[in-house]
Amino acid sequence: MAGRTISEKILARKSGQAVRAGDLVVCEVDCALGTDGSVPMALDYFEAMGGERVRDPSKLVFALDHYVPPTSAQTIGLHRIMREFACKHGVTLHGAGAGIGHQLIVETGRALPGGLVVGADSHAVTYGALNCFATGIGSSDLAAIMLCGRIWLRVPQTIRVVLTGQLSVGVFAKDIALALAGLLGADGAAYQALEFAGPGVATLALEDRLVLSNLAVEMGAKNGIFPADAETAAYLRGRTEQAYERITPDPDAHYNKTVEIALDQLAPQIALPHLVDQVVPLADASGTPIQMVYLGTCTGGRLRDFHQALEVLKAGGGVAPGVQLVVTPASREVRDAMAADGTLDALVGFGATVVEPGCGSCCGTCGVIPGDGVSVISTANRNFRGRMGNAKASIYLASPAACAAAATRGFVTDPNKVTR
């Protein structure tokens, strides 16, 4: 009898029964996130289900992040409905400007090793970096969790992603994630878990791991989960008082497939318009003219990302004429840290437009949108046609450093060419 993967072990704990990949189980949810993009519909479903009270409000978190700031009577109305519901039922609500819900779940210690955390937004997979089973759901599933505290899940098969070696200078977590998306394809991990393993994991900071888990859904994955180690514990220190247990896979666990990525062999990557898995080495797209550079989102809007981008911007002498640089910190905590260490002033000094923490330009629901015919390079996770609010723009995805490199030159270029 083979051993168990991390996902099998967590879903066994949460369903109270021995499980194997393929089993359907009903699980207790430790925490569920809803955003202004999903909660208004969830409240309609909740009411239609006959919901009167939330089963356990302490396990529910609302974040206003998709419409920040709200710029229409309709979106202001959506925010008001959420605030009123949260107040009435005792649900934690992060207001407009506090940040992206996914980042807030992580920062506030709501995603812990061994836990089951879901979010009514596809990028809820991000929390897998903290060794919890984290997946995206829709508004109706969120409504059912509000009602009964539980969710049904099929225990996924797992693809093991073995990371070896260490990233070279100028190559970052985003490059690993893009390379993996190129390797597996947009549905290469459909219905399955990605489980990260190998000696390369220890070389990645928690903020790097969040990038890999975040992009898991772009390969169709149900979740993208990391083992927990000293780095995980260090991140959680001061963020939670709650005890947690690290979940490790059994050495003889069954994997559907194993893929290996040698970090030291990896070069900068770029996803071309309009698909996330249309990934090529960045060198192949070198020279592509860029008019807008976007630094932000739940993929690339953390302090480490802005530090990496700023280093390249400084080395390259600032933003090239004709390039618009837009910055959206993932949260207020990130923005405060950027303000405290001078990163924010430096970016503003280079002419950046700084937008309130939130989803920003990523999904076209708020913030700055690109103009017709504009080519954007972004630290985000999706480049679908129309994603940023204009179907006549083209979106390239790359690391924060590669985005900054393009900002300094006005065209796609290897960050190492700017810094050396």
Binding site: V26, M41, M49, D121, S139, G220
Partner: protein
């Protein structure tokens, strides 16, 4: 008919749901950036046929309710993104997984009591993957809302 890797933003632009969540309003924007004539061409009872990974990207549920709002009761695809699949079941939109490569626009598909689907034009018979019990139970209840009204919790 649509192709592979159709994302939910293509089904209905997320900028549209900012202004309304009503399927009766949103249905006029169905696939607006893929095929501007699509919404007007849909007749109630039409089946949507897709390639692999249908409904990838955002988990937004309007991508299901808008399809239903246009009068489409079922989507047949080679595969679905998992969030679209769940949302479809939860709203009573029938998601069928089978090889759609030989289906042509305008074909008449007839389902029999066993769930097999016969293409009247080509004579091809498709056998969609069977649904697990809990999904059947949610679908036969008419979606997650009536299912939860009745049960108040999930039952396996």
């Amino acid at each position: 008919m649509v192709g592979d890797d159709v994302n939910t933003d293509s089904i209905i632009s997320s900028t549209r749901k900012r202004e309304s969540l009503d399927p009766a309003v949103l249905k006029q924007f169905l696939f607006e950036h893929v095929d501007p004539g699509f919404a007007a061409s849909v007749r109630s009872g039409d089946i949507l046929v897709a390639g692999k990974n249908f409904g990838c990207g955002s988990a937004m549920e309007v991508a299901v309710t808008t399809v239903l709002g246009a009068g489409i009761p079922a989507v047949i695809a080679k595969s679905f993104s998992r969030t679209y699949y769940r949302n479809a079941i939860n709203n009573g939109l029938l998601p069928l997984i089978c090889d759609t490569s030989l289906i042509r626009d305008g074909d008449i598909l007839v389902s029999d009591a066993t769930g097999a689907i016969r293409n009247e034009r080509s004579g091809e018979t498709l056998r969609p993957e069977p649904l697990p019990e809990i999904m059947k139970a949610i679908l036969s209840a008419g979606g997650l809302v009536p299912y939860m009204r009745k049960n108040g919790d999930f039952r396996l």
